[in-house]
Amino acid sequence: MSADTLTGRGAGRFRLQRFATWDVAIILATLAVIVIAAATVEHFGTSRNAGFLVLDLAPILLLALPMTLIIATGEIDLSVASIVGLTSSAMGVMWNNGVPLETIMPLCVLIGAILGAVNGLFVTALGLPSLAVTIGTLALYRGLAYVLLGDTAVADFPRQFTGWAIGNIGATSIPNVLIPMIVIAGLFAAVLHAMPVGRAIFATGSNPVAAAFAGIAVGPLKFWLFVVSGAVAGLVGVFWTLRYSSARADNATGLELTVVAAVLLGGVSIFGGTGTLPGVLAGVVLLTSLQNALRLASVSSEALTVVTGSLLIVSVLAPNVLVGVRTSMQRRRRRTRSPSPT
């Protein structure tokens, strides 16, 4: 081992390994899926479908951004889809009561932030596991969404807004939502990879105790991440409602699973401490374009469920298996190379 690192050959392998990381693999896989789908699936490559793909992608991508940060600290937020549902319901109720949309939209983001803050308080102030807390709020927030709207739908939102949500920029085929999406994703990438907060997030995820001793305010950091997650979910609630021009209590049911699957697929460790945003973006694109292509190829939506579930398991299983194989190979190589104890 030590001899290897001293020689140039070892260093060369090290450099090669740096490129053969999970997120590079996932980016390549994403490109492969897109190229194969464009070549084999009819209508996949059309600009019209690309527009739909972006609209399908938007909520998952937006929710995946704060989810990445939260999972990187070793926590999880399973309540995001329920927050989307609850803000959507709240939007419907406020619209029914004559509140103008210009007021409703920021209020929805605020409601999302408050719901996120509730999660954050349970996790940080009471020191409860976020998994249990957000399973609880997953049920609670979805339940409150039903309490607000029941099984009715509010669908009379003004054209001007719903049209924007699904519309394109001018005469191009670039959806309106693409630009804000890129800006927000860039913002999160900058925070995670170029700012002290990002280092603090990874440090907290790798070892919360050591992070606390290093002067990182672990509690407040986690709290604010949950608040951000809630606020983004509120924003997605607004977008979802406008996109389908329908406020319903069951909007985005089960979406949290897709989001978590995309994040883990993107190479973020469920135990915290590692992960990159480009990887997550690739994970989101891979998952949604695969679903889109399969749907276009008229594969039943049942098969899609199996694909999402399998990808979620494989995304965690594969690195573990690789590590296992690599260590066992190293062990064998060491045994054959050095019969005498070192």
Binding site: I76, F122, L126, G127, L128, P129, L131, A132, V133, I135, G136, T137, L138, A139, L140, Y141, R142, G143, L144, Y146, V147, G150, D151, A249, L257, V260, A261, L264, I270, F271, S300, S301, E302, A303, L304, T305, V306, T308, G309, S310, L312, I313, V316, L317, N320, V321
Partner: protein
Amino acid sequence: MSLLTKAHESGSDAQARTGSTVLDMVLRFRALGLLLTLAAIVAVTAAVNPRFVNEQSIRDLLLAAAITLLLATGMTVVVLTRGIDLSVGSVLGLSAFCTASLLSENPGIPVPVAMLIGLGIGAVCGLFNGMIVHLGKVPPLVATLGTLYVFRGVVYFIAGGGRINASDMPGGFLDFGTARILGIPYLIVIAGVVLAVVAVFLSRYRAGRDMYALGSSPEAARLAGIPAGKRILTAYILCGALAGLGGVLYAARYGTVDASAGYGMELDVVAAVVVGGVAIFGGSGTVVGAALGAVLLTVISNALPVLSIDQFWQRAIVGALILGAIALDRLVGLRVKASLRKKDAHVG
């Protein structure tokens, strides 16, 4: 056996030395608190509508609780080992649909065989979960979140949008769903027997105690020579098998089965377990507590229409109960820890 008595001795020893009595109190208080809550809800609802406590509606209530109770029993064992099984709703659906379609094609299959088939389907699903968790070293949450999808997808695949109606199933099987022995429906008897067996297994048998040990400290358990892999596989297989059995009972009770049977049920089951005082991070709790949690949740959802509260509140109440239960456990735990420390300081 000698191990058991030894454990008992050291237990009473610890009781005399440290504040183990406080812990006992808390555990007993938990069951007591659940019972009091139950009694309060039943009393209030009965005051509004006395028919809520007549024989028939109590029987209906227990029937409704039986399947959740069965699943909660299996879930308790998995949660005790620091795991979780989110796929139980999908396993129930898979088993319900498979046994129902099998019965509709072969009406001659006797009920016990149908139950064994359901158990088997569930056990295979559980084995699959356990292998991913133990051999693949995938966190239980992620593994079973994935299989929640996969198993449900398989049900949809098999069902293909179809459903099996009561008229397709043999009458003997449907009768079993409502038949009684000594005035008690079979479903309740089965759930009760399973509960008792698992309770004895967890409290009296070595493998059962190992589940607690694994949940309290996996590292220490391994060093103590507990076969962690075997125990974890056992826990997941048991949980899956009981969900499979639940699927058969579901088919017998409701008669109509489609691909969405048991959809979202994992939430109710996790809620029952957590409300019943099983620590979500393993190592403490009993199946009896989880059973009380399941009954409490069923009573609440049955009481809502009687109290003319909108049925839409049910989900929100489940969520609030989960949050309340884990927060309460945490607060009590902190207090117990503080009082233990104080006692230790006195001894030292």
